[in-house]
């Protein structure tokens, strides 16, 4: 019998594992961004979170607009290809409706912070930030000298989220999660975290995972909860499952710009719905059919049979 004790609803996982005041990472670089979890956090009215993400994206605009966070750690703040994150900007530029503390890095700096966190190291050295004002804006980025050749590099501190929520295409009931396509920082952010929620497009049996172990990004060993949530990344995408909903990202710009429109959107699409399944149903089958990915299968490799 497989161990199914970790499997549950997103509502249960968020209620149990995301706590007010936590540092929360919902990673995924444009790909596999778990919007469903962000919406559940909004719905449960979590407060005073520190949100970490390389690219805050529309999901953190929604969460920060909904008032769940007091601080943002990031490296690129925008709606990629489509516009700006105006709910975040209102808080940074005008403290409207309240201030938002920010801590910013470059992409390489953020990636390296997760690497340090995942590897239990006190810092990661990188060759970046030379003659940039970024270290002046963020004193956590420190210049150090190599003990070997005297080279100057910059150090960034480990980032260890209290909880990381990682979306994957598939996982087994133990939380062994497989990802293909853009990998983002899902693996690093998961290993760096104290608690891990894996959300997946589909739960598969353990044998499916074992048939293709190279594709496992996150082992069940570090996973606390497993949730099956089809279309859980929308309007982000899941490679091979559904496309990025670019129209949604483009349409977000006027909503984000107008606080009343943002509140109305959150009411209609988050607060008034009980779950992500309701969100999927509200869009309707035709909407999802239009986003569904066509088929392009990988080649197969022979792992070999030994002994």
């Amino acid at each position: 019998m497989p161990d199914t004790s970790k499997v549950g609803s997103l509502s249960e996982a968020v209620a149990e594992l995301v706590r007010d005041g936590d540092t929360v990472a919902i990673e995924g670089f444009t790909h596999l961004i778990c919007f469903a979890a962000g919406h559940e956090i909004i719905r449960q009215r979590k407060r005073d979170l520190t949100l970490a993400r390389m690219t805050p994206d529309v999901i953190y605009d929604q969460m920060i607009g909904a008032g769940v966070a007091r601080k943002l750690i990031f490296s690129w703040l925008g709606n990629p290809g489509a516009g700006s994150l105006h709910a975040v900007r209102r808080r940074v530029e005008k403290a409207d409706p309240e201030p938002l503390e920010i801590e910013e890095y470059s992409h390489f700096g953020m990636v390296s912070r997760y690497m340090a966190g995942a590897s239990n190291l006190p810092f990661m050295p990188i060759r970046s930030y030379f003659e940039s004002d970024i270290p002046k804006a963020n004193p956590n980025i420190k210049r150090i000298v190599s003990p070997y050749d005297g080279a100057e590099v910059y150090a960034v501190p480990p980032l260890k989220p209290d909880v990381t929520i990682a979306h994957a295409q598939r996982a087994d009931t133990s939380g062994n999660a497989q990802i293909w396509g853009l990998l983002g920082c899902q693996k690093e952010a998961a290993f760096a975290a104290d608690r891990v929620i894996v959300v997946c497009e589909e739960i598969v049996d353990e044998q499916t995972i074992r048939d293709d172990p190279n594709r496992t990004a996150i082992p069940g060993l570090i996973v606390d909860a497993v949730v099956e949530e089809p279309f859980g990344c929308h309007p982000s995408f899941a490679q091979g499952y559904y496309d990025r909903d670019n129209r949604f990202y483009l349409n977000w710009e006027p909503i984000s710009k107008d606080p009343a429109a943002l509140d109305a959107w959150l009411k209609e699409w988050v607060y008034d719905l009980g779950s992500h399944a309701d969100y999927v149903e509200k869009f309707g089958d035709a909407y999802w059919d239009a986003l569904r990915a066509g088929e392009r299968l990988s080649g197969r490799v022979n792992y070999g049979e030994y002994g």
């Binding site: 060759r127 970046s128 483009l250």
Partner: protein
């Protein structure tokens, strides 16, 4: 749209794509660089290896992606990498020939601001920040900048230096020991610029068709250094315009 049938945005994109001829590995940025590199792949340089910071080497996109993270960048690519590998093994280790950067503000030495307009603590406008730009500026062998030109973007003093360019002191620049040699080209909607090898200063190289020096000067905050032989930028060819309009951007998102 000019009298002879192309817009200034189209001229900017085409001029920038031509500069990729002969280059091998290009780090593609969000926005204009995305269409420039995809145009180059279909015109000036079919051998171009597109690297996306989302973790892709040798991308072969079938459609022009809106974002730099898109499923079309993955399908049929040479390699998908972790983001650490992309930044550490490919960029930091010096495998990238050309890095593309955009800018909200640029100064005469090619230093770039993409972080804030106004004071950092109380910004008038909060811009996206670095993303990968700071490390691209340091490690890409050459840095190509593409941006629209104006008094507010070509400035004497940056409000924030996100990504370093040349320092104005050539000896200092040589002693840095960086993998990259800093910005080598700026292409705008009115002109193209190179950088003077002695001083590291941005130098007017070509004027786009229909643009005169006065217009260029009125769209920047300083008196630019001017090359001895300033020419007119060659107008887009029919083929370049066809690829741009029919294959890459039929809706005119980038080219209006």
């Amino acid at each position: 749209m000019s009298a002879n049938g192309f817009s200034r945005s189209e001229m900017m994109i085409v001029a920038s794509a031509r500069q990729l001829a002969g280059q091998r590995v290009t780090f593609v940025g969000i926005g204009l660089p995305n269409i420039v590199c995809n145009l180059a792949l279909r015109t000036s340089n079919p051998e171009l290896e597109l690297v996306y910071e989302s973790g892709i080497f040798g991308s072969a996109p079938r459609r022009l992606p809106l974002s730099i993270g898109d499923p079309t960048l993955v399908t049929g690519s040479t390699a998908v990498t972790s983001m650490y590998e992309l930044f550490a093994f490919y960029l930091q280790a010096g495998l990238v020939d050309v890095g593309f950067l955009g800018a909200a503000q640029i100064d005469r030495f090619g230093n770039i601001n993409t972080t804030v307009i106004g004071d950092y603590e109380h910004p008038k406008t909060r811009l996206p920040g670095s993303g990968g730009a700071c490390e691209i500026a340091i490690h890409a062998r050459k840095v190509f900048v593409i941006m629209r030109q104006g008094q507010r973007s070509f400035v004497e003093t940056l409000h924030f230096r996100t990504s370093p360019g040349h320092s104005g002191d050539p000896e200092h620049d040589r002693a840095r020991g960086w993998t990259g040699s800093g910005p080598t080209s700026v292409v705008t909607d009115v002109a193209t610029y190179a950088f003077d090898e002695e001083t590291g200063e941005m130098t007017l190289a070509t004027l786009h068709p229909g643009v005169d020096f006065d217009e260029v000067r009125s769209n920047m905050a300083w008196d630019p250094r001017v090359a001895d032989d300033v020419r007119e930028t060659s107008a887009p060819t029919d083929e370049e315009l066809r690829v741009l309009r029919e294959e890459l951007d039929p809706q005119g998102v980038y080219t209006r």
